[in-house]
């Protein structure tokens, strides 16, 4: 970073700083002239959008934290006070609450983009892994945050999710007591959840930095999945993509603000506005929408895994569900090694494309199932869709890597762009 040749800046103040700490050179190199494939579509906006959402969450979160009280007896009241008495408190809370949802929308689209255009493939495996790590940290952060208003749904959601760890053989119960700092979800739990909810976004920030650093080593992928070969394939990041990103960002933020101001409860559940009562479970516990597909996978494992027709059980249903749920996220880490097909973009892989679209449908289906009571047809549907989810990663993708014949891939980005222009003319 530091040792490369540096061009002088005209402005003497900028030059004084830059010759001592070359931050301006760095920005110029990484965001000014940075050579970027010239064929990005709007899917490439969502990284920048996610970054802005992270900053939004940190800013709204820090001011909320100045008013919020992390104590079992006071937390619910303090959030009511934020809503009624604190200047603009309602706005800050609505922006933070719905910001979490819009953050997940951006990141889910961002992950889909990566899968559709094969962005996880060599040489971007580590970039992808850092991304999955960010996703995991986000899920942890959102789960912890949802407990803070100390509502029925928040408290009982925390109970159910922390109890997942009791499925671990041997140490499970000790571990859960450790997580709670007591014998149930109570004041010690709330206080540590607040401390961690405050901390983790900054950890995410650090991992995002590594993620972007890795991106700037390999350069961006693009809708064709063909690496840029000559200068003709790229354009400087500024002004072309600064403008495109800003436009996409404004559209996204408009939707976010629209929901936050006019439909603030569209993603919320009524039991999230009732104070937590450790002596009474709500009739129907549902997590936030962004966890529903994984919740459905957790509930899909209703059977013990062992030797049929005997009492021998290797994995109890409860542990099986937990393993499946974590496995559903974990499998993303190894995706670069499951999919070894040389062609990146799904544009040239009709079979992969079809199976991926089916996967998206399955994930939506799981999301729907996750919101229903676990009985009757929903159990079976959840099991079928969970089956497809894992079939996709462990069978379809590796098999297609070997047998799928790709359609012709263009020579270069430039050639493909010119071809498209010719056809239009």
């Amino acid at each position: 970073m530091a040792s490369g040749k540096r061009e002088k800046f005209d402005n003497p103040v900028v030059e004084w700083i830059d010759s001592r700490l070359p931050v301006f050179t760095l920005m110029q190199k990484e965001y000014g002239v940075f050579p970027t494939p010239k064929n990005f579509n709007y899917f490439w906006n969502f990284g920048a959008i996610a970054m802005v959402m992270l900053v939004t969450m940190i800013i709204t979160g820090v001011v909320l934290a100045m008013q919020y009280t992390a104590h079992a007896d006071l937390a619910f009241e303090s959030v009511q006070r934020i809503m009624r008495d604190v200047n603009y408190g309602w706005m800050l809370r609505y922006l933070h609450m719905n910001g979490a949802s819009f953050f997940f929308i951006a990141v889910y689209i961002h992950i889909f983009r990566g899968m559709y255009y094969g962005s996880y493939k060599q040489p971007r495996e580590l970039l992808w892994i850092l991304g999955v790590l960010i996703f995991l940290l986000m899920m942890a952060t959102a789960f912890l945050g949802y407990t803070l208003p100390w509502s029925q749904m928040g408290g009982w959601g925390a109970t159910v999710i922390t109890n997942l760890f009791s499925a671990i053989p041997g140490i499970g119960d000790t571990l859960v007591t450790f997580l709670w700092g007591g014998f149930s979800v109570d004041n010690p739990t709330l206080k540590r959840f607040f401390a961690l909810h405050f901390l983790l976004p900054f950890v995410i920030f650090a991992v995002v930095f590594l993620h972007v650093w890795a991106l700037h080593i390999t350069g961006s992928n693009n809708p064709l999945g063909v690496e840029p070969k000559t200068k003709k394939d790229t354009i400087p990041f500024h002004p072309y993509y600064t403008v495109k990103d800003t436009f996409g960002l404004l559209v996204f933020l408009m939707l976010y603000v629209l929901v936050s101001f006019f439909l603030p409860y569209i993603f919320a559940h009524p039991d999230h506005f009732v104070e937590y009562n450790p002596m009474q479970t709500p009739a129907h516990i549902v997590p936030e929408w962004y966890f529903l597909p994984f919740y459905a996978i957790l509930r899909a494992i209703t059977f013990d895994i062992g030797i049929p027709f005997t009492d021998i059980v290797f994995i109890e249903a409860k542990l099986g569900g937990v393993l499946a749920m974590f496995g559903a996220v974990g499998v993303l880490f190894i995706l670069p090694w499951l999919d070894t097909h040389p062609v990146r973009s799904a544009r040239f892989r009709p079979l992969y494309r079809l199976s991926l679209i089916a996967l998206v449908a399955a994930v939506f289906g799981l999301g729907y199932v996750g919101a229903q009571a676990a009985e009757g047809i929903w159990v079976i549907l959840g099991q079928l869709l969970t089956g497809y989810y894992f079939l996709f990663f462990f069978v379809i993708v590796p098999v297609l890597s070997r047998i799928e014949k790709a359609t012709p891939v263009p020579e270069s980005i430039n050639a493909a762009v010119l071809e498209k222009k010719k056809k239009k003319a």
Binding site: V160, L164, G182, F183, P188, E316, A317, K318
Partner: protein, 181 residues
Amino acid sequence: MATKAPSKPQQSETRRDFLYLTAGAFGAVGAASFAWPFIDSMNPAKDTLALATVEVDLSPIQVGQSAKVTWQGKPVFIRHRTPEEIARAEGVDVSALRDKQADADRVEKPEWLVMIGLCTHLGCIPLGQKPTDPKGDFDGWFCPCHGSHYDISGRIRKGPAPKNLAIPPYEFLNDTTLKIG
């Protein structure tokens, strides 16, 4: 340890490796023992542990009635079972159960069933304490969260929960006083 000077340069290499390894191992043990107070601080504190026992007056709980008390932040179900319920609990074929336990192993006195009211699946509170509650397919308790059915001995009969409802440590101080914990 070594008294002789190394005869070959290669030997001093292996000695240096040994020093690296031992220094590294000591460093790791040191770091782990420093980490322990930080980790242990998150375990239940002394005041939390001090809330360990409660005493319950059983005299108002009539035959066929239930009560719910709080112990260590958890609900404890107390049921004054009827002779018919006791007979039903004892009449079950234990070998066919998921978590094999005879009713006699779950109670001190058959008429008093005392257990922790948390579903052994993921910790919801099962329904069945109030006369109007759904009691599940085995006429005991039913957990609405993911559909676990418990019988009148609190044993898991159907659904995702792996274990019977847990029995807290308790003793009868006299005929009408129960000490939990």
